[in-house]
Amino acid sequence: MSRRILIIDDEDDIRQVAALSLETIAGWDVVLANSGKAGVEAATREQPDAILLDVMMPEMDGPSTFLKLQATPQTSKIPVLLLTAKVQGSDQRRFAGLGVSGILFKPFDPLLLSKQVSEVLGWKD
């Protein structure tokens, strides 16, 4: 089943690698946004099946972007997976406490990213 995924990350390399991975391995459609603000706009417009959201971004970081998505009626039901290079337990607990659907860690394996997304979200296809 084809899915549409929105990737919100200020890092060009991460956006491009994740997009290549999801498009090539899983055949999913990918939409890209390079900031929290652009991400909220894209989510509202594109209505993706899930959002991969970077934590550390300038101006509007991942947690702030998530709260904005939650507060926006058109995007509040879209599952959000945080994407972070922070591995310390205190950071992980803080992120989990936000109510996101899951946390994926950088660096991710491009060959396995779509499988990890599917597993966390319980997608069987």
């Binding site: 090539t24 290079a85 950088k106 491009p110």
Partner: protein, 138 residues
């Protein structure tokens, strides 16, 4: 054919036809992604090196003028390197960059030993990135 290569999906003869086809398609997709990532690495290597230079500059500034904004700048560069290097097949690069990030984010002032270690980490990162560029290295 050794045991490892025998497990590659394209060699499976015990699968039903549809599964075999899916397995072959998956192997093709993986090869295609591998090639695309190799091309992307060559295109993006310069930006990765730029980030390493930011880290190196911040470590040099630490040596000359002590703690300051350069710690935050260096930690940010190290954080980004940690995030991307493993994705491009350099997991040790992620470990080295992460150690640099954690050191730079310490709440206490950095010691001479810390700064020496940071210099070492930056040197190792430079070598790893250079080696990743060699044909066949991954």
């Amino acid at each position: 054919m050794n045991e490892h290569s025998a497990s590659v999906p394209s060699g499976r003869s015990d699968l039903p036809e549809a599964d075999k086809r899916a397995s072959l398609e998956q192997a093709d997709a993986q090869k295609k992604l591998h090639d695309l990532l190799a091309t992307m690495w060559e295109q993006r290597k310069g930006a990765v090196l730029d980030r390493l230079h930011v880290l190196e500059d911040s470590i040099s500034s630490l040596s000359e003028s002590g703690d300051g904004d350069c710690r935050a700048v260096g930690a940010d560069a190290a954080h980004k390197l940690a995030g991307i290097l493993g994705t491009f097949g350099l997991p040790r690069g992620t470990d080295l960059a992460r150690e640099a990030e954690v050191t730079l984010e310490k709440e206490s002032p950095l010691t001479t030993e810390d700064i020496d270690r940071l210099r070492f980490l930056a040197r190792e990162l430079g070598l790893l990135i250079a080696q990743r560029s060699l044909p066949g290295a991954r």
